[in-house]
Symmetry: C2
Subunit: 355 residues, 2 copies
C-alpha cells in the first residue's frame, strides 16, 4: 500500500470552544485532550499507515506557519495555505490534481484535523479496509456508529452490504442526510442503519477527478488553471477567490454512484462544543472533568478547565467553566452550543482582542 | 459636642469574601462598594461628627501600615496594633483607658470598620442622639431595623421607650439574643420589637470603665498594667496575649444595667457574604450586579465581579462569579456562606498563596 496519501484538512476556524479557540488559534491547534494538539494527533494517528512523505495539510494561509511548527516533518511544500475558506470540495480537487502527476495510483485519505478518535488502531484498520474498497473504484466514507441521537451531525443511511474488506463490513450508501431534529435522530439511532457523517473520505485520485469532471466540472477547470499557473503565482489568490464555496458532501458524495461506507465504532468525537469535550474527558467520583487546580464543594457533573488560576466552585451542577489568560466562560452544560452567541456579541462589539 | 471620639475596630480577618478578601487583605481594606475602601468609608462617615484628631483605629499589628496608608490623617500614635485578636472587649477597655487622661468627658463611638451604611446622614443623626443618651450614663447601641429574618446576626429585644433624643426614639434594651433559627428570626421580625445587633456602641468613657470594673475587673486590671507599662514596652506583646478573648456584647452589654438602644433604618449591611454584597449593588434589567467586563446570555439574578478578565456567562441564574488575579470563585448564590469551606480546604492544603 505504498500509494497511500493523507490530506489533512486543517482550515477550520471554529468558535464553539471559545475562549480557548480563537481566530488565530482554532481548535485543531489546541491540546485539549492530551499533550499533543488535535492536528498532531491526527498526524500521529495516520503515519503508522501512510508514509510520512505522503502527508499533505491544507489549511488557511494564516495557519501555515502554525502547521509547520506543529508538524515539522511535513515538507513545507506539502502545507498549502488557502487564501479563503471555500468549503471542502476545492481543497479535495486541489489535492487530487497535485497527486495526479506524482502517483497515478494514489489512494487518498481525506482527514479533518479536529476530530478525536480514541481507538487509533481500529481507525487504521477501517482506513486500510476503506483503501481496499476505494481501490475497486468506490468513493468511501467512514460512518460513525451513533452513540446517541445527536442533532448536530449529518447522517448516512447505509444500504445493501457489499461484503467485507480487511475483515470489516462494507455497505453501499443509500443517502446522505441533513442534520435531523431530535425525533428523527432517535429513529435513526433505533434503525441501526444510520451512521454519523464523519467527514472522512477515501478514494483513488483518478476516481475523484472523474467525479469532479461529472458533478463539478467548472470547479475542476478553475482548479486545473490554478495548478498550471502554480500555487506561488501572483494570480493564485485572485484565482482561489473565484472558486465556489462547496462541500465535498453536497458537491460530489450525494450525487455520485458507487459510494460505500464502513462503520466505525472507535469513540469518534468531533469536539464540537465544551459539552462534547466533557464527554471525552476522564471524570472523578462526582462526575467532574477537571483540568487544572480546582476545589469543589457540592459540585457535580461539571467541566472545569483552568489555564492556571485556582477555580473554586460551590453548589454547581452541569456547569462548564473555562478559564483563560484574558477571558472566562461559565456556561450551563446544556447550553454549550450557545458559546457562538458570545462570539457573535464579541464580533458586534468589535472586541478583536477576545476573538 | 467637642468630647466625641471614634474608635474604629479594624482587626477582622474575615474569609467569607474570598477570593477578594485574604488574610493579608481582609474585607475592611477592600473597595467593594465604592472607590473608597470600607475602612475609609467608615472614617468618611464619622468625621462630619467627630473631630479628625479624635479618631482612633484598633487593628491587628499586621494591618497597622495598611490602616496608615488608607487613613493618612489619623495620627500614627492613634493606630494601635493588637498582637493577637482578643475579641472586642479588650480593645474597648484599652481605648477607654487611653482616653481617661486625655478627656474625662469623652463620649466614644465604637465602630466596626467593615459595615456598609448607605444613609450616612441618618446614621450620624442616630449617633448624635446616642451621644446625648450616653451622656445620661447609658450604655447605648444602635439596633438595625431588620429587613428580613436573617439567621446570621444576633438580635436585640427592645423594651420600654425612654423618650427621644435628637428627634429619635430611644428604648431600654431588654435582652441581647443569640443568632436565632429561621422560625425564631421570623417571629423576631414580625414582633417589631427585635433589632439586629449592629456591633456599634456609644458611651461615656467613665461609664464603660465603671462597667469593666464591675463585670470584667481582671481584664481591666490587666489592661491598666499594660497601659502603665506603655504600648511600646517590651512586655506589651506578652501582656496582651494574657488577656481573655471576650466580646463587649457578652462581657459587658448583656450584664450591664442602663443599656439603651436607638433603632436605625439606614440600609445597614455587614457585607458578610457575596450574597450580601449582591443585595447592596445596583442591578441591571436582568437582575445582575456586575462589576467589570461581562457578556451574559440568559444570565439572571447573578453577581459578576471581575478583576480584569472578560467574563462570559450562558444560562446561569443566581450564581456568584468572583474573578481575581490568581483565583476564581463560582458559587450558587444561596450557598455563599459556604465560601468558608473553600478557605478551610485551602488551609488544610496549606495553600498559603491563596489564603
Amino acid at each position: 500500500m505504498s500509494h497511500l496519501y493523507a490530506i489533512i484538512l486543517a482550515g477550520g476556524s471554529g468558535t464553539r470552544l471559545w475562549p480557548r479557540s480563537r481566530q488565530d488559534h482554532p481548535k485543531q491547534f489546541l491540546d485539549l485532550v492530551s499533550e499533543r494538539t488535535m492536528l498532531q494527533e491526527t498526524y500521529d494517528r495516520i503515519v503508522p499507515l501512510v508514509p510520512e512523505e505522503n502527508v499533505f495539510v491544507i489549511t488557511s494561509w494564516r495557519y501555515v506557519d502554525d502547521v509547520h511548527a506543529q508538524l515539522p516533518y511535513v515538507p513545507k511544500a506539502q502545507i498549502i495555505g488557502e487564501p479563503e475558506g471555500r468549503g471542502t470540495a476545492p481543497p479535495v480537487a486541489l489535492a487530487a490534481l497535485l497527486l495526479r502527476e506524482r502517483d497515478p495510483d494514489a489512494i487518498t485519505f481525506i482527514l479533518p484535523a479536529d476530530h478525536v478518535i480514541p481507538n487509533g488502531e481500529l481507525f487504521r484498520r477501517a482506513l486500510a479496509a476503506a483503501a481496499q474498497t476505494a481501490d475497486q473504484n468506490f468513493l468511501v466514507t467512514l460512518g460513525i456508529t451513533p452513540a446517541f441521537p445527536e442533532t448536530g451531525y449529518g447522517y448516512i443511511h447505509a444500504g445493501e452490504a457489499l461484503g467485507d474488506a480487511n475483515g470489516m463490513n462494507v455497505f453501499r450508501v443509500r443517502r446522505f442526510l441533513e442534520k435531523p431534529n431530535l425525533e428523527t435522530a432517535e429513529k435513526f439511532v433505533a434503525s441501526g442503519e444510520h451512521f454519523w457523517n464523519s467527514g472522512i473520505f477515501i478514494w483513488r485520485g483518478d476516481k475523484i477527478l472523474q467525479e469532479f469532471s461529472r458533478h463539478m466540472p467548472d470547479t475542476l477547470k478553475q482548479m486545473e488553471t490554478l495548478v498550471q499557473r502554480g500555487l506561488d503565482a501572483p494570480s493564485f489568490q485572485q484565482d482561489w477567490k473565484g472558486l465556489p464555496n462547496e462541500t465535498i458532501d453536497y458537491g460530489i458524495m450525494e450525487k455520485a454512484e458507487h459510494v460505500a461506507m464502513l462503520p466505525l465504532d472507535a469513540g469518534w468525537n468531533d469536539v464540537g462544543s465544551w459539552a462534547a469535550l466533557y464527554d471525552l474527558m476522564a471524570r472523578d467520583d462526582a462526575g467532574n472533568a477537571v483540568q487544572g487546580n480546582h476545589i469543589g464543594v457540592d459540585t457535580t457533573a461539571s467541566l472545569i478547565y483552568s489555564h492556571k488560576r485556582l477555580v473554586a466552585t460551590i453548589g454547581l451542577e452541569n456547569v462548564i467553566v473555562v478559564d483563560t489568560e484574558d477571558a472566562l466562560l461559565i456556561c450551563a452544560k446544556d447550553r454549550a452550543q450557545d458559546v457562538k452567541k458570545i462570539v457573535d456579541e464579541l464580533k458586534a462589539r468589535n472586541a478583536k482582542k477576545y476573538l
